[in-house]
Symmetry: C2
Subunit: 362 residues, 2 copies
Amino acid sequence: MHASPDPIEAVSQRLGRFVEAQRAQWADGGPETAVFVDAAARTLAGGKRLRARFCVTGWRAVAEAEGPDVDVPVEVLDAAAALEVFHAAALVHDDIIDNSDTRRGQPAAHRGLEAAHLAARWVGDPAAFGRSAAVLLGDLLVAWSDDLLEQGLRTAVHAASAREVYALMRREVTIGQFLDIAEEAAFATAPDDEHAERALRVASLKSARYSIQHPLLLGAALAGADAGQRAALAAFGHPLGLAFQLRDDVLGVFGDSAVTGKPSGDDLREGKRTLLIAYARERLDTAARRALDAVIGDPGLDAGQISALQQTIIDTGALDRVEAAISRYATDADAALRDARLAPPAVDALRALADAAIARSA
Amino acid sequence: MHASPDPIEAVSQRLGRFVEAQRAQWADGGPETAVFVDAAARTLAGGKRLRARFCVTGWRAVAEAEGPDVDVPVEVLDAAAALEVFHAAALVHDDIIDNSDTRRGQPAAHRGLEAAHLAARWVGDPAAFGRSAAVLLGDLLVAWSDDLLEQGLRTAVHAASAREVYALMRREVTIGQFLDIAEEAAFATAPDDEHAERALRVASLKSARYSIQHPLLLGAALAGADAGQRAALAAFGHPLGLAFQLRDDVLGVFGDSAVTGKPSGDDLREGKRTLLIAYARERLDTAARRALDAVIGDPGLDAGQISALQQTIIDTGALDRVEAAISRYATDADAALRDARLAPPAVDALRALADAAIARSA
């Protein structure tokens, strides 16, 4: 069984069929079950399908190295779909943790479940119900992601190595997410000159390895990549992933809310301890540093305060340093593709994905 | 590789080794990572290891059907350990949802992480940090449970059918947990004469199938059970699991807090819509029913109010009816073992587990 010409469209179709199968399985579960399955389905709509793209392209880079285009096999589409479902789960839990109201321009899952509670005229506190139900919704999506992965792996030759990549990805991203929220609380106990390194460690685990390196290597594993191919893809994926996260950090402070779909300066209100903040702090004196720490993480920051903080980040040179780091990482990523034994059309596709990931405005 | 004589002790040792390997892997992760991994390790201590017991005994019932005792293979111990880790994850998320402060006589995970925040003198709201970190802790434990399962399945002959049981278990319990919290909110919109049936549906998904039937069938799958053996174990496990949950419901209202480790009447404060409540409501007039609905779920209920509610549950005959249902389910479970092609010593062990599950006081 093979994919339609556009593999990302095929991944979306695969997700759609999976959701329909789940709906059918729970068809006699009554209206409450339908609320839950509908909420799960909604989390899978939209998004850039970034992880699916890297997974499919990682597979192509290896599978097509020996010859011209071959159709993407079903196990790769299933693995790519599993990555998207796992990511949806992570976002559901993330939005509870960050108290975010919106996601991809729609209500965040816990807010959607809160609305379902209100619409059904159920009793009790709708907001508390929404948060509790969303914890379980994330759990359901994680189960679904495993189901998708395993459906594909049933007939896959390289199932064991694919499972290993997936499992490592899950452990690392969860620890990375924990370190991310821990850093918002623990930064004050760490020496000032270690903040940048700590921010990069979080970016590596929860973003560079999770969003790009592991998806690439999952696809590559399914194609039976050898050690050299894996090393080349990792050497491309990791710096690209760091650049991707640093771009995200810049957008989290300076992004246009009309384009990002999130309020401008959201990372400042959330108190994220990004490389941008670490660099800004390095150039401030103790008093200014304390003043910065005191306002970052205040959910009530107004437009004037956000604008003053943006100016501080510019004036300390932090924005320029982060932009320079993005360029450096992008160059490193690009260099890793040179001379690698990977299929040239897939390498071109990886370069295009890299450009889009780094230059994006949302 | 084979197990030490007591398989449940061997499961605990397996868990211990797994945790040590995780600690070693993250040894250079700094103090924040250690807080997280320590919190995960703590959730795996103690407990009745009920699911591990049913898994191992399900395996024995099939594997020993053809001959005398054989050692429990490592894949069964790994699967049993995976069930315990998955259950720890479910409890971590459950305790956030139910706002429970204690678990197995220790602080609930989110309270433990709150305490770690305080002890480390981190900044921000310790309680909010504890809840957010515990959402991620549950996610980490789910990843660990898959890792344990897959480690065992690498060399298992019946890996595919074991995975299928495990995957179904995960989907069902998550939907069951959702229906459980939804019922606390949605009961008022359901016809009064459907409440008992709805309570039993939740008990089936989140308890009977999850805690007993699926663990049994996971063990049986690893032993290569045939359709008749699977049917016999399901016909035993499901009613036993219902009886187990109904005993839990009775303890949740009438249990001695010194024995259960939870405040007496906890289910009433939480607003759980159990069969006990459904039966009580059936025998009340409209006014009394409304009065009952108005107090159940009030976290501030005092000892006098709890005692009055207990009396209502007794006076309406609800307690007697639930006790009768427990006996009936126990009889059904026992009957399913008669004439089944299962190993007699394992059948004796299943009967002993059943007695303990139904007669327990904690």
